[in-house]
Amino acid sequence: MTMGLPCEVKAHPITGIYNGKFAVWLFLASEVMLFGALFSALVLLRAGAASWPHGYTVLNVPIGTLNTFVLISSSVTMVMAWASLKVHDFAKGRQYLLWTFLLAALFLGLKLALEYYPKFQAGHTPGHDNFYGTYFVLTGLHGLHVVGGMIVIGYFLWPGAHLWHENPEHYTNRIECTGLYWHFVDLVWIFLFPTLYLL
C-alpha cells in the first residue's frame, strides 16, 4: 500500500530532510542518552570503588584494536554502498553492503570467540566484580546494537532489496538511514574502547 505521505522520500522544504532521516537522528539522540547514562554509571561506580583494574591489565588490547579497525572499515564500506546507490550503481552498492555485513559478523565473531569465551572460561563473568559487570553490560549492549544493524543491513540486502526497483530514491534514503545508525554504533565503540581497555 502506498500511502504517499508528505516528505516520505523528498526533503521537507523547511527542515531540508526527509522523514526517515529526521526520525533516525531523533532515535540517535535517545541512544546518546542511553549510552550517556551507562557511561555516567561507569564513572560513578569507578569513582566510588575501592579498587578498579586498568583495562589493559585484564582485557585483550590487540584484539580490541583489531575490532576497532574492523568497525572503522565497515563504516567506510557502508558509506561507499550509499555513494554507489547515489550514482545508481545498484550492483556495486549491494556489494559494499555485503562487505559491511561481513565485517560486522567478523567483529562479533572476534568478540565472542576471543574475548567473551576466554573470560567466561576463566570465571570472569559479569558477577565477578563491577569492572566485569560494566564491561559486559557496555560491550554487550553495543554488541546487540551491532546485531540490530546486521538485521537491518541483511533486510536491505535480501528481502528488502526489491524496493530499489520500485523506488530507487526511497531505497537509497533507507540505506542512508542505516548508514547513520551504523556510524553511530561505530562511534560508540570508538569511545567505548579507550574507556574500557586503555584507562
Partner: protein, 592 residues
C-alpha cells in the same frame, strides 16, 4: 464524505464509510487490519485510549482495596479469603506483602499504563494529526508498532500478579537494594518497563517528525494549537528522559539475574546472613538514573493535560487565549528545566549543601513557568463569555486542583521543610492533586470535548454533570486529608498506619479518605454508562458542534481514512474567537 475520493482516490476505503462507499473497486480491509493491527492514527488513538482507560480502572480498583486495609486494619473481610488465596489474603486480612504489591502496581499502572498512554497515545494520536491538518502520522506502521509494544508491556505487568510469588512489591520507584533482593515479580516489572519505554520512544519520534513535517500549508509553528505544542515538548521529554531509565532497568535486571552488583554495596547482610555478591555498587546510582527519568515524567503527565485544558478553555471562553506565546515559551522552558531538578526527590539521602542548593534553586525556578501558565489561563477568563459545557466544567476544575498540587510542591522543594514532609502522606497528597484531580480531570475534559469527533455523537449533558459534581467533591475528600496526615508525620507505604501514634492520631482522616475513594468510584458509573450508551444512542451532531476554530473540526465526524476531504490551508492563528467584524463569534483556521 464522498468528496474524500477525489483527493485520496488511491487509498483504501474509509473505515466508517457507511455502505455508500462500496463498489468502487477498492478492496475492503479485513477486520483485523482495520481495527486490530490498524495503521490509521485514529484507530490507534482509540485503541490506546480504551486500553489505557481499562488500566486506569484497574489501577483504581487496586487502590480501592488498599484503602480498605488502611481504613479498617482490624476488621476482617473473610469472604475475600477464597478469592485472593492464601498468599494474599489470610483469615480475612490482606497480607502486608500483597499490600505492597498493590501499592507498587497501582503506581506503575497509573503512570506508565494509564496516564501516559491515554494522554500521548490516545489524545495525541487521535487529535494531533487532525489539528495539524495531516492525513496521518509520519510513520503509520511505527505507530502501530508502538501500540503493540505497549500491550505486551502491560500484559507482563498484569501477569506478574498471577505468578507464584506475586507482583513487584518495592514501590513504583523500585529502589535498590530492596528491589534487587525482592522476589521474581520485580524481574517481570523490569521486563514490562523495557517494553513500555520502547513503546514511548517509538511514539515520541513519530510525534516530533509529524509535527515538524506534516503541518498543513500556512500552519506555522506559532499558529499551532497549544495542545500540539504541549505534545511536542512532551515527546522531547519522553525521547531524552526515558533512555536513562532503560539503562537503569538493564543494570537492575543484570543485578537480579546475572549476579552483578551495580546497586549493591559491599557487606550487605540480609535476614541475618551475608549476601553472596561481589559488592562495590551504589544504591544511589539507581535513584539518580530513576529520577532523571521520573522528574521529566511528571511533566509528561501534566503538559498534555494542560494542552487539553487550554483547548477546551479557549473554545468555551469564546475569545483568544491570553498570552499564547507566553504559554508556548513557558512550556518549552518547563521542558528544559525538568531535566535539572531530579535530585530534589533525594534530599534525604545524605546530600550535602552544594547539591541541595543547586537542586532546590532549580526547583524554585521551575515553579515559575507553572505559575505563568496558570496565570495565562486565568487571565483568559477575563472579558470572556464562558459557556459552562461539561468539558469546560472539568477544564475549569482542573485549574484550582492543579494549583493546589503545584503550591504544595513548594514546601517539598525546599530542603528544610522537606525534612519533615519527605516520604509522608503530604507527598502523596501533592502529586495526586497534580495527576488525579489535575490530569485525570483534563482527560475527562478531553473525552467529553472530542467524543463527537470520534463518534459523530455527543455524550449526554445531564449524565456528564452527574459525573462531574460528585467527582469533584469526592476526589477532594480523598486527597485533602492527606496533607493533614502528612503534617502529622504519617509515613508513606504503611500497611497499617495505626501501628504508629502519628497514624492513630489521624485515623479518622484515613477513613474519610477511604470513603472518598469508594464514593469516587461510584461517581464514575454515570460516565461509564454515558460513554458506552452514547456510542450508539448519543445525540448526533454536526462536524463542528462546539463552534471551534482548530483544524480537527474541519474534518468530517468521524474522520475518514486520510482525514480531510481536501488538504486544508491555514489562514490564521488557532484561537480566533469573537473577531471584531466577523460574521460569527469564531473564525476557523482553514476558512479564508
Amino acid at each position: 464524505m464522498a468528496e474524500s475520493h477525489a483527493h485520496h482516490a488511491h487509498e483504501p476505503q474509509d473505515a466508517h464509510g457507511h455502505g455508500g462507499d462500496h463498489g468502487h473497486g477498492h478492496p475492503e480491509l479485513p477486520f483485523w487490519r482495520k481495527y486490530i493491527f490498524s495503521i490509521d492514527h485514529k484507530v490507534i488513538g482509540v485503541q490506546y485510549a480504551v486500553s489505557a482507560l481499562v488500566f486506569l480502572f484497574f489501577g483504581f480498583c487496586l487502590m480501592a482495596l488498599m484503602r480498605y486495609q488502611l481504613a479498617y486494619p482490624s476488621t476482617p473481610l473473610n469472604f475475600l479469603n477464597g478469592i485472593f488465596g492464601e498468599r494474599r489474603w489470610q483469615s480475612g486480612f490482606m497480607t502486608p506483602d500483597f499490600y505492597n504489591e498493590l501499592g507498587a502496581m497501582h503506581g506503575t499502572i497509573m503512570v506508565f499504563l494509564a496516564i501516559v498512554p491515554v494522554l500521548v497515545g490516545g489524545f495525541g494520536n487521535f487529535v494531533l494529526p487532525l489539528q495539524i491538518g495531516a492525513p496521518d502520522m509520519a510513520f503509520p506502521k511505527l505507530n502501530m508498532m508502538s501500540y503493540w509494544v505497549y500491550v505486551p508491556g502491560g500484559l507482563i505487568m498484569l501477569a506478574s500478579f498471577f505468578t507464584q510469588q506475586g507482583a513487584a512489591a518495592s514501590g513504583w520507584t523500585a529502589y535498590a537494594p530492596l528491589s534487587v533482593i525482592a522476589k521474581n515479580g520485580e524481574t517481570l516489572w523490569l521486563l514490562g518497563m523495557v517494553f513500555l519505554i520502547t513503546s514511548s520512544l517509538l511514539g515520541s519520534i513519530n510525534f516530533i517528525v509529524t509535527v515538524a513535517h506534516m503541518r498543513a500549508r500556512g500552519l506555522s509553528m506559532f499558529r499551532l494549537p497549544f495542545f500540539v505544542w504541549a505534545q511536542l515538548v512532551t515527546s522531547f521529554l519522553l525521547l531524552l528522559a526515558f533512555p536513562p531509565l532503560e539503562a537503569a532497568a538493564v543494570l537492575q535486571l543484570m543485578d537480579r539475574v546475572a549476579g552483578t552488583s551495580f546497586f549493591l554495596p559491599s557487606g550487605l547482610v540480609v535476614s541475618g546472613s551475608a549476601l553472596q555478591v561481589a559488592g562495590g555498587g551504589n544504591p544511589l546510582l539507581w535513584q539518580h538514573l530513576f529520577w532523571f527519568l521520573a522528574h521529566p515524567e511528571v511533566y509528561v503527565l501534566i503538559l498534555p493535560a494542560l494542552g487539553i485544558v487550554s483547548e477546551v478553555i479557549a473554545n468555551n471562553i469564546r475569545k483568544p487565549l491570553w498570552g499564547y506565546r507566553t504559554l508556548v515559551y513557558s512550556t518549552i522552558f518547563l521542558g528544559f528545566m525538568s531535566f535539572v531538578v531530579w535530585a530534589h526527590h533525594m534530599f534525604m539521602t545524605g546530600m550535602g549543601t552544594t547539591m541541595s542548593t543547586f537542586f532546590q534553586a532549580t526547583t524554585m525556578i521551575i515553579s515559575i513557568p507553572s505559575v505563568i501558565i496558570l496565570t495565562c489561563l486565568l487571565l483568559s477568563l477575563w472579558g470572556a463569555r464562558i459557556r459552562y459545557t461539561v468539558p469546560m466544567l472539568f477544564a475549569l476544575a482542573f485549574l484550582p486542583m492543579f494549583g493546589i498540587g503545584g503550591l504544595t510542591g513548594l514546601p517539598l522543594g525546599l530542603t528544610t521543610s522537606d525534612i519533615h514532609l519527605h516520604d509522608t502522606y503530604y507527598v502523596i497528597g501533592h502529586f495526586h492533586y497534580v495527576v488525579a484531580p489535575g490530569t485525570i480531570f483534563a482527560v475527562f475534559a478531553g473525552i467529553y470535548y472530542w467524543f463527537p469527533k470520534v463518534t459523530g455523537r455527543k455524550l449526554n449533558d445531564f449524565l456528564g454533570k452527574l459525573h462531574f459534581w460528585p467527582s469533584l467533591i469526592f476526589i477532594n475528600m480523598v486527597f485533602m486529608p492527606m496533607f493533614f496526615q502528612g503534617m502529622a508525620g504519617v509515613s508513606r507505604r504503611l500497611y497499617d498506619q495505626t501501628q504508629y501514634h502519628s497514624g492513630s492520631g489521624v485515623h479518622t482522616l484515613t477513613q474519610i479518605s477511604s470513603w472518598g475513594a469508594w464514593l469516587l468510584g461510584l461517581a464514575q458509573l454515570p460516565f461509564i454508562y454515558n460513554f458506552f450508551a452514547s456510542i450508539f444512542v448519543g445525540q448526533k451532531v454536526s462536524d463542528n458542534p462546539w463552534n471551534a476554530t482548530t483544524l480537527e473540526w474541519a474534518a468530517p465526524s468521524p474522520p475518514p481514512h486520510g482525514n480531510f476531504a481536501a488538504e486544508p490551508v491555514v489562514h490564521r492563528g488557532p484561537y480566533e474567537y469573537s473577531v471584531p467584524g466577523a460574521a460569527q463569534d469564531f473564525s476557523p483556521q482553514h476558512i479564508a
